[in-house]
């Protein structure tokens, strides 16, 4: 299908909900993509099975600090540079572009790349949500290497990185990103069509689009927007209330934080704390864990269901916290080891959200 401006708005919104508080601000992401399709070419979204085993697939994304992104907005060329540069390094042209994660910006960056290069976009991603580190990708679980990868900044500086493993890719790329001024644009996990089809989380872009469309439709018809969303993703409402505190702190070199929500309506006299590191990772209601990574915990505006990314959380927002089951690829032993609560330093076992909810 050809993506319209409506589709792009819908996808940015839905992807930010799947982004679990990370993946960038949907407002900027959406505006970037809309400007790109106005100035560039039409963008075609194709089924992952359109790719031949021997095709060359390149995911593109932005990495870095959300606070920098909302101030130092991309130039728009960076993503073309990384794509051209990785093609040069591999000595072959990319057949398709794809998303590495869901999220307000990282669902849109590949659309910008597609609009300016004319390459089609595949309907899948490497997470089905967003995560903070480069190795937290389903392609990593099946042994695809993140490098050789390319990083570029808005000035035109580019770095090609080749590392011994994906953890080193994360460490070195992070340091380069800081030198670039807090944000970088990347082409990473360049791979064959065969690997892509094996590792991909299918249809994340179109599910995001469906979520966005459902919200738009629900508003037009004046029906409950949350019902519309939860139906599509098999999610649940975990809490409703008002944000009374947002604490951000550094711990062991990681910037983390937690948001405290005072309940109202059916959640009166109850409190929820959501712990985050870029993404929302653990939700605790009155001392009981109700959801953990890799399941998706998203904080949405209580009226409009607009997702609120972690850098925009602040006192006074009235919110609903929703929980959404993650893709089954994450629910394996290797998946939990890579992105489960213990990896992030929380002393909690992963229990699928459906099971936790039943137990309450």
């Amino acid at each position: 299908m050809i993506l319209s401006a409506h589709d792009i708005r819908d996808m940015a919104l839905g992807a930010a909900i799947l982004g679990a508080g990370g993946g960038g601000d949907p407002y900027i992401g959406m505006l970037m993509a809309i400007q790109a399709v106005e100035k560039g070419r039409k963008v075609e979204l194709l089924d992952p099975d359109s790719a031949d085993d021997s095709d060359f697939i390149v995911p593109v994304a932005m990495m870095g600090t959300p606070t920098v992104l909302i101030e130092k907005i991309p130039g728009g060329d960076e993503v073309i540079w990384v794509l051209r540069s990785i093609e040069k390094y591999y000595g072959r042209e990319a057949n398709y572009i794809t998303q590495i994660e869901a999220g307000g910006v990282n669902s849109m960056i590949p659309i910008v790349a597609a609009a300016y290069t004319g390459k089609p976009l595949l309907n899948g991603d490497g997470m089905g949500r967003a995560f903070p580190e480069l190795q937290m990708v389903t392609f990593h679980l099946i042994g695809v290497k993140a490098t050789p990868m390319v990083l570029s900044d808005e000035r035109g500086n580019s770095v090609v990185l080749d590392t011994i493993d994906n953890f080193w890719a994360e460490r070195i790329a992070r340091a380069i990103t800081i030198k670039f001024g807090g944000s970088a644009y990347i082409a990473i996990y360049a791979m064959s069509g065969k690997d892509y089809k094996r590792g991909v989380v299918r249809y994340t872009p179109s599910v995001a689009m469906e979520i966005g469309r459902a919200i738009r439709e629900a508003k037009r018809r004046g029906v409950n927007v949350f019902d519309a969303i939860l139906d599509i993703v098999k999610g649940v409402i975990l809490f409703r209330g008002k944000i009374i505190d947002v604490a951000r702190f550094n711990l062991g070199g990681f910037a983390r934080g937690e948001v405290t929500i005072e309940g109202f309506d059916d959640y009166r006299n109850s409190r929820m704390v959501v712990k985050f590191q870029n993404e929302n990772l653990v939700a605790i209601r009155d001392g009981n864990v109700v959801a953990t990574t890799p399941d998706i915990i998203s904080i949405l505006d209580i009226e409009s269901a607009k997702p609120i990314t972690t850098e925009r959380l602040r006192y006074g927002l009235r919110v609903a916290v929703v929980g959404i089951p993650c893709d089954s690829k994450w629910r394996t032993e290797e998946g939990i080891r890579t992105v489960g609560p213990r990896y992030f330093g929380y002393d909690v076992d992963y229990v699928p959200i459906e099971v936790r909810i039943r137990g309450v």
Partner: protein, 523 residues
């Protein structure tokens, strides 16, 4: 000689004026209908309160306005200035051009042209790239040829380092001295698009504000108040001088919402409470903290995202004129309202529309001193069981709204103010006590009349480059400077708030520091 302050507040239905003495004591008040041009209603209300109070006009030292001129001009796209937009940030930032997501009619009315020149800073304060000085001068010349009314300048991370914005101002003073320049670092906080939008809107309403100021100055002369100093209420519950607001009119865009919260404090001297301001169409429920409205959310102004902060207020369509509908046992109250036509359409006035006021009258909770108002008409038309049910529903709606505003389950003091506030009971779920102070109907104008001068400044730092104490001192100094510019007596300055927000995921302890300074009016 006593020195009085006259305060005016423009609401959606009524415009109120009060006179208070120097200590903030209420002397007298008057209400009139808000007029479409706003100014006429303001003048009428001032004339009325001067006549009623009979204070010596020479003794009125200051007049303070909480007005809707600016928000109305933007919403109605009326008489907006044409703005030349300079963004400093290329090669970054070009992927989202200025005004991209504005409603088209507003963009066409306001943005005369824009250019994105090379320059801007990193979060560390270092250059992204060198500033394109020739590009700046070229843009200024182009804007002069277009005949723009104002120029808005936004540079990447100017709240860390305003160097490039200041360069534009310097050049503009040489090349286009007649055209006002608005710099984003004086308007907003982190978030380039939101800050740029607020800066452009501020530039677009400079003329609107100037016109309002001229009209009000003339009115003051006619009323014999030509000697009085003029102040305007700001979004955060403080006021600033006319000269300051002439430069930053966008700081008044939601001021009337803050006035009633501040007024509730002045009338009760209770510093921490929930304030319910019930007018004709809506009730605004906000949080009073240490005598000021608690600020929270960044607002969208007529479809444009900005980082202008508004008080933490929720609005419910439940007030004096709210229309009550009953069908097959289903009761609804509001959000439609008869507004100021209450005294024609309300049942108690012989009309045919059941309003929230009628119900409160029939309950015997509310008394209205108006010979034309006859609560018995309501009692004869609606049976008392239904009155009870409707009233119960209204109170429940209010209690639910209060619950959404509260920050803890513990009961809090609730202060009722506004023209419709008499409709509420003396007990509410979630309230430790319910207080409706004398002159509650004038709380908003009292708020405008008694507010202190205030200025807020936000800057970003890396504590590795600038030690924490030094950084805070720098922001405090800047805020003090701004407060004096806004009209504060330098000997009364007080730091009301220092807020530090870490900017996550950056090395070098990057933080935003926001400081609010208040001081007494220099009369």
């Amino acid at each position: 000689m006593t020195r009085y302050v006259l305060g005016v507040d423009v609401g959606s239905t009524h415009t109120d004026a009060v006179i208070v003495d120097e200590s903030g004591n209420f002397i007298n008040g008057a209400k009139t209908i808000t007029t479409p041009d706003v100014t006429t209603g303001i003048i009428t209300s001032m004339r009325l309160v001067l006549e009623k109070s009979m204070v010596d006009r020479d003794e009125v030292a200051a007049v303070s306005f909480g007005t809707t001129h600016i928000i109305n001009a933007i919403v109605q796209r009326r008489r907006l200035g044409r703005v030349g937009v300079i963004r400093i940030g290329a090669p970054a930032t070009r992927s989202v051009e200025p005004g991209l997501d504005w409603p088209e009619d507003l963009r066409k009315a306001v943005i005369a042209g824009y250019t994105i020149v090379r320059g801007g800073h990193e979060y560390t304060g270092e250059h992204i790239v060198e500033l394109d000085r020739d590009g700046v001068v070229k843009a200024l010349n182009a804007f002069r040829e277009m005949g723009v009314d104002a120029v808005a300048v936004t540079s990447v991370f100017s709240i860390v380092n305003p160097e490039h914005e200041l360069f534009v101002k310097e050049r503009a003073l040489e090349t286009i001295p007649e055209i006002p320049i608005v710099l984003s670092y004086e308007i907003g906080s982190v978030g380039l698009l939101e800050r740029e939008n607020a800066t452009i809107l501020n530039a677009a309403v400079l003329k609107v504000m100037q016109r309002a100021i001229t009209a009000l100055e003339n009115a003051l002369h006619e009323l014999g108040l030509g000697h009085a100093k003029m102040f305007f209420a700001q979004n955060d519950g403080t006021v600033a001088t006319v000269e300051y607001i002439a430069r930053y009119p966008i700081f008044t865009v939601v001021a009337p919402i803050s006035n009633s919260i501040r007024g509730a404090y002045v009338l009760t001297r209770i510093p921490n409470a929930i304030v319910v301001d019930t007018g004709g169409t809506t009730s605004n429920i906000g949080v009073l903290r240490r005598g000021y409205p608690r600020e929270a959310l960044e607002i969208e102004i007529s479809g444009v995202r900005t980082n202008i902060r508004s008080p933490d207020v929720i609005a419910v369509g439940l007030a004096g004129g709210s229309i009550v509908k009953v069908s097959e046992g289903d009761i609804s109250v509001g959000p439609e309202s008869v507004g100021y036509r209450l005294i024609e359409e309300g049942i108690a006035w012989g009309g045919n529309t059941i309003t929230a006021t009628d119900i409160a009258l029939a309950k015997g909770i509310m008394m209205i001193e108006d010979p034309r108002c006859r609560p018995e008409l309501v009692k004869s038309k609606i049976d008392s069981a239904l009155v009870d049910k409707v009233y119960e529903k209204m109170v429940k709606m209010l209690e639910d709204a209060i619950d959404r505003v509260k920050t803890s389950p513990e009961p809090e003091t609730v202060i009722l103010v506004g023209g419709g506030s008499a409709m509420w009971p003396q007990k509410l779920v979630g309230a430790r006590e319910v207080i409706r102070p004398e002159f509650a109907q004038y709380a908003n104008a009292v708020g405008a009349a008694t507010a202190l001068i205030g200025a807020s400044v936000e800057k970003a730092f890396s504590y590795e480059a600038t030690p924490r104490e030094k950084a805070i001192d720098m922001v405090v100094d800047e805020a003090k400077k701004r407060a004096v510019e806004a009209g504060a007596d330098p000997s009364t300055l007080d730091v009301a708030e220092v807020e530090e927000i870490a900017m996550p995921y950056l090395p070098g302890n990057a933080v935003k520091i926001r400081v609010k300074v208040i001081g007494k009016l220099k009369l």
